[in-house]
Amino acid sequence: MILESLLAVLEKNSLITAFAFVGILVWLSYEISTRLTGGHIHGSAIAIALGLVLAYVGGRLTGGQQGLADFSLFAGVGILGGAMFRDFAIVATAFGAELEALKKAGLVGAASVVIGVVLSFVVGAIVAVAFGYSDAVSISTIGAGAATYIVGPVTGTALGADSGVIALSVAAGLTKSVLVMIGTPFIAPHIGLNNPHAALIYGGLMGTTSGVAGGLAATDPKLVPYGAMTATFYTGVGCLLAPSVLFLMVRSIV
C-alpha cells in the first residue's frame, strides 16, 4: 500500500518527479566523473550518455518511441526534455553572449549552415546509392535524413517517398544526433572547437539542435549559445533545399 501511494504521488507530480530524478542522475554522473575518471570525462557528458542508455532501456522495455518517458512514472522527463523546455533553456543561454563574436562570424556562420546541409545530404545520398537505392526520391529522402531527422520525413513526404524509406531517413537523423551528443566532447580538442567562432561553425555544420545542445553542454557550456544559434537555422534551410534544389540535382544525375 505504501509503495502504491508513493508511485501514485510520483506519477501525479510527474514534472516534479523529473526534477528529482534528473538531479540524482546529474549528481551520480559528476561523482563518476571525479571519482572514476579523475575529471577527465566531463560530468555532463556522462549524464547525457547515461540518459541515452536509459532511453535505450526504456525503449526496449516499453516498445515506445520516447525512451524513458514512456514509463508513466517518468512521463515528466518527457516534458522536461521536450522541445518546449529545451528551446526555452537554449534561449536563456544567449543572455550574456558576446554580440561581437556573432558579428565577426556572421557570414561564415551563415555559410556553414548551407554547407552543412549540402554536405550531409550528399554523404547520405552516396550511402543510399551504395546500399542499392537507385530512384531519386529514395536517395534524396535518405540524404535529407542524414541532415536531421526532421528534414528527412519533411522531404520524403513532399516527394512522396515510401514509408519505409522515410523511417530509414528518421533513423539516420537520430543516429547523427546521438553520435553528435556523445562524440563532440571527444573530438572537440582535435578540431579546435574551443572558441565562439568555431562553435558557430560547428552548430551550422552539424545542425541537429538536440545533438548540438547535448554535445556542447558536454564540451563547454559557455559555447552553447553560439552553436545553438546557427543550428536552429539548419532544419529550416534543410527543408528548403532538400526537396527542391538538392532533389533536382539528384534527379539529373541518376
Binding site: 517518468f74 526534455g81 528551446d87 523511417a167 547523427k176
Partner: protein, 123 residues
Amino acid sequence: MVIYGVALLAFCMLVGVFVGDILGVLIGVQANVGGVGIAMLMLIVLSNLSHQKFTLGEPTERGIGFWSAMYIPIVVAMAAKQNVIAAISSGWLAIVAGVAAVAVSFAMIPVLSRIGGGERHDS
C-alpha cells in the same frame, strides 16, 4: 523581480518562434526557420544594450540565469527521451549514413574556422 526575467525570456522565445513560423510559411517550407535563433539574437542584443543604456536589475537577471543554468539538466532529460532504439535498430544503412554525415561535418569544422579567420583562444 525574478518573474520579469522569466517573462522577458518567454517574450523573446514566443516572438522568435512566431517569426520563425512566419518565415517558414513565406519561403514555403513546413518547418520553423530559425525561431530559437531569432529569440536568442533578441536576448543577446537586449543584454548587450542593458550594459550601456539601462540595467535589468539583479533579480531580473536571476530569472534568466536560472533557466540558463537549467540547460544541462534539461539536455540530460532530453537525452533520456530520445528514440535510441530506432537509431540503432533500423539496420546498417541508417547507421552508416548518420556516422558518415557526422564524420564529414566534423572534418569540415577546422577548414571553415580557418577561412573565417577566427583567432584561437587556447584556454
